[in-house]
């Protein structure tokens, strides 16, 4: 069924004349499909306009939360490793008398071994690809000194906003710069990172794909695929980085966690 979205929009915004509004309301009362469509229109508008309005702020909160998650997961692993040793000391002191008490150190050791195996078994360490991407992401650092004089102002505006985390404005400035310098690697890398910070992962992937012969671009592309949960696309890129001085160790660690 086709709907007149222009009319729906005007009705919701109160831009229909009183006669038109009356007629629309009459149609609404007898048309459940139209009623559903109007309700959906309002809900989608409300949900997605808020998403885009607070995109940058929400991305910053998400980063904070991801960092705290990493901290508390690491703390949990540390606490669990310490516990079995405390239990063992206690059991050595108390091991006198009955068969049960004599057997207890053995069962405790077995429990400690199982606990260690649970936390350090490489096949059981499951971290989500998106969390791996966030944990390994560092913003690309730019050089403000480059650029010819006619576009220098645009470039410097872009960097200023990029460093101030005004990513929406920074992206607009990078786009302006890229109009005259479409293959500029620095601008594309920074733009891609800014898009990632705004969780516009698909656009970030497209941006990094425009850069040829760059290990740095490949690294960010791999992180973008991980953030998008496209592990099969990230893996070959990470494997291609294993020999790289800068990214090799990190790529190896991520592949291990995957």
């Amino acid at each position: 069924m086709k709907f007149n979205y222009e009319q729906i929009e005007k009705y919701i915004k109160g831009e229909l004349s009183s006669t038109e509004a009356q007629s629309f309301e009459q149609e609404l009362s007898g048309n459940s499909a139209l009623k559903e469509e109007v309700a959906l229109y309002k809900d989608v508008e409300n949900a997605l306009s808020k998403q885009f309005k607070f995109e940058a702020e929400d991305a910053a909160v998400e980063t904070t939360i991801a960092q705290l998650s990493k901290k508390y997961v690491a703390q949990n692993v540390k606490n669990s490793v310490n516990k079995p040793q405390e239990n063992k000391a206690e059991e050595v002191e108390n091991s006198k008398g009955s068969i049960i008490r004599r057997l207890l150190p053995l069962t405790t050791l077995a429990a400690a071994a199982a606990l260690l195996f649970f936390f350090f078994n490489p096949f059981n360490n499951k971290i989500s690809p998106a969390l791996l991407a966030v944990q390994n992401f560092e913003l690309y650092q730019l050089d403000a000194s480059m650029g010819s004089s006619d576009v220098k102002a645009t470039w410097q505006e872009a960097i200023k906003n990029y460093r101030a985390e005004n990513y929406v404005v920074a992206i607009n400035k990078f786009d302006l710069f890229l109009k005259d310098n479409p293959n500029n690697k620095e601008a594309l890398l920074a733009k891609g990172c800014a898009l990632l910070k705004l969780n516009k992962t698909d656009l970030a992937i497209q941006t990094f794909q425009q850069i040829n012969n760059s290990k740095t671009a490949n690294w960010y592309l791999a992180l973008s695929y991980l953030k998008n949960d496209e592990v099969t696309k990230a893996q070959p890129i990470l494997e291609g980085l294993l020999d790289n001085k800068k990214y090799g160790a990190k790529a190896k660690a991520i592949l291990h966690d995957l």
């Binding site: 979205y5 229109y41 997605l48 705290l68 499951k126 989500s128 969390l131």
Partner: protein
């Protein structure tokens, strides 16, 4: 309803207050971790669930009229419990133990508020998935619309010939988005 003192955690999320968000973790991460581990998960699942729960609350909090009038602990419990049960339901072999139910059994208002939050978040997630399935051109034009730009500005930015042609594209793309949403298997569950 009057604002609960725990409303400070809602403001903390909105303002990215690291110290207070850390306090949320200190107070409730052990509980979430215990619940998830007792119900077929591990500590990393707990971290993911904690994150999803907080982001769902943040999105709810962006509505200007949202005031937390119940204790944060009960509200958060029912959110993460709902989300975890939902995940386990998708993996039909897993069972759930309602371990913390006793602690929060009298918090009916918190349960209702949490259910509304989860429902709203499920709708948001569906809309987000469907938005990403649109063509780049439609995503571009609708993004600008949702960001609040007028058809005149969209015409200039995206180089449409007239305002009318910009409007036609906006409405066509909106129709495509609605179609994707209504044909998604999760739509009927909302």
């Amino acid at each position: 309803m009057p604002k609960h003192s725990d409303h400070k955690y809602i403001e903390a999320l909105k303002n990215n207050n690291t110290a207070l968000i850390d306090e949320i973790y200190q107070k409730w991460f052990p509980e979430v971790k215990n619940y998830v581990i007792k119900n077929n998960g591990d500590v990393n699942d707990a971290a993911d669930l904690f994150q999803e729960g907080l982001m769902a609350i943040l999105r709810k909090a962006r509505k200007d009229d949202f005031v937390l009038s119940v204790p944060f602990g009960g509200y958060f419990y029912f959110i993460y419990k709902n989300k975890w049960i939902d995940k386990l339901r998708k993996n039909k072999t897993m069972k759930v133990i309602n371990d913390e139910e006793e602690r929060y059994k009298d918090e009916v208002a918190a349960k209702t508020m949490a259910e509304q939050t989860v429902e709203q978040d499920d709708r948001y997630q569906l809309y987000k998935i469907c938005f990403k399935k649109l063509t780049e051109a439609c995503q571009e034009v609708l993004r600008l619309t949702f960001e609040g730009f007028t058809p005149q500005t969209i015409m200039e930015k995206l180089k449409f010939a007239t305002v009318n042609s910009a409007n036609q594209r906006i409405h066509r793309c909106r129709g495509n988005l609605h179609k994707l949403i209504k044909s998604h298997p999760n739509y009927s569950n909302l």
